[in-house]
Symmetry: C2
Subunit: 219 residues, 2 copies
Amino acid sequence: MTTANSSVIEVAQTSISRGDRKLRTRAHLLAAALQLMGEGRGFGALSLREITRTAGVVPASFYRHFRDLDELGLALVEESGVTLRRLLREARRTGLPPRDILRRSVQIFRDYINAHRLHFMFVAGERSGGSAVIRAAVRAEERHFTDEMAHDLRQLGLLPDLSTPTLQMTCGLVVTTMMNAATDFLDLPPRQPKRESEITENFIRQLRLIFLGARAWRE
Amino acid sequence: MTTANSSVIEVAQTSISRGDRKLRTRAHLLAAALQLMGEGRGFGALSLREITRTAGVVPASFYRHFRDLDELGLALVEESGVTLRRLLREARRTGLPPRDILRRSVQIFRDYINAHRLHFMFVAGERSGGSAVIRAAVRAEERHFTDEMAHDLRQLGLLPDLSTPTLQMTCGLVVTTMMNAATDFLDLPPRQPKRESEITENFIRQLRLIFLGARAWRE
DNA sequence: TTACTGAGTGAACATACGTTCACTCATGTT
DNA sequence: AACATGAGTGAACGTATGTTCACTCAGTAA
């Protein structure tokens, strides 16, 4: 027929640019690492070979994209940070729900976690254990998230009596509680609505208690 | 001189019983695993051989004590659970400090963490990431800790207006915050009193906010 | 004193690992 | 049309891994 300008195994691909192809493989490597971690092991327990194997690439190709596993890990932290911040951005765009603010926010959060399971698993898993360099990066990303949340709360006029440091401290507490709830949600076996609503209710009550405390706070 | 009844490399040891010797090696294996994790990697990133190497034993000996690494991990969880609960037990024995309850409790907690760094590193690190079976065991141990704390608070007559489920929810929040602070303390480079007191103050303020919220709570 | 038990040994195995290297060959540049 | 680039390849390397096995030889029980 026409000129056969595609390789045998990539029949459906008509002329991807060189740079795009590279980005695609890089994305495959990142996705492979996330997928393997999703199967229940920390980042530190992954091997370069199984990542490339899962990504459908030969081991040596890895070095075209990352110097070593740590560099791949840091890229994952950045990617996850974007996912984290998008949650706040969407909340900002949507605005606060008119009624049942906490409950609805938690439901949105629960859905968001499930839509980005692997990123949250990664962040929740590496924020405490594992390698020091990755943990530091995660904590930094988490602090940006906290700061942005504090900024948003200020903008919304919530908790107007709190000083900025106190607002930040409060948001830190919220984020810690959130990450904890994320682990709970992600550990939940599928089709367990009973346990799921227990976790949801517990999370809502903890947030309610935090905001009660923030309202009662006097500098 | 007298009868040479000790091996060459264990000169100082005079006749340890067979069972005790076994327990000793087992303890060496557990300590080796903790030590390696203290050098900055998750439990899942440890290998059987380096654990036995660190413990000063041949790899095959491992199987005299544990079926596999997971079993060693579960033993560590139990050991750490004991350390956790001892904190509560000592607090119960000592009684509450008369003044500055929160600040003094946090100082005691900070000292306790530093006296048991490896156990807290292990618990904080494996409570979210890593292997599912170990994480589950850690969370169970953490729940026992939470329940015991709730029981103690009740006994002390603190927060008498809270229902038991609410008290439990509150203690869950305290424990989560505590584990988070533990990670912060443990990540601290030594000789950084500035950062250390920042973390301490932040932790105190978060606890104060939680108890403020608990006082304001209405069922 | 004799016999038994079992914690710890040392060697061997099949596999998996990280890293290197010279290579191909589609894409981009001249 | 001829050339240069560099992402991806496949093979090779030395090393580390988990597990097995028959063994030794203190400590225990008979």
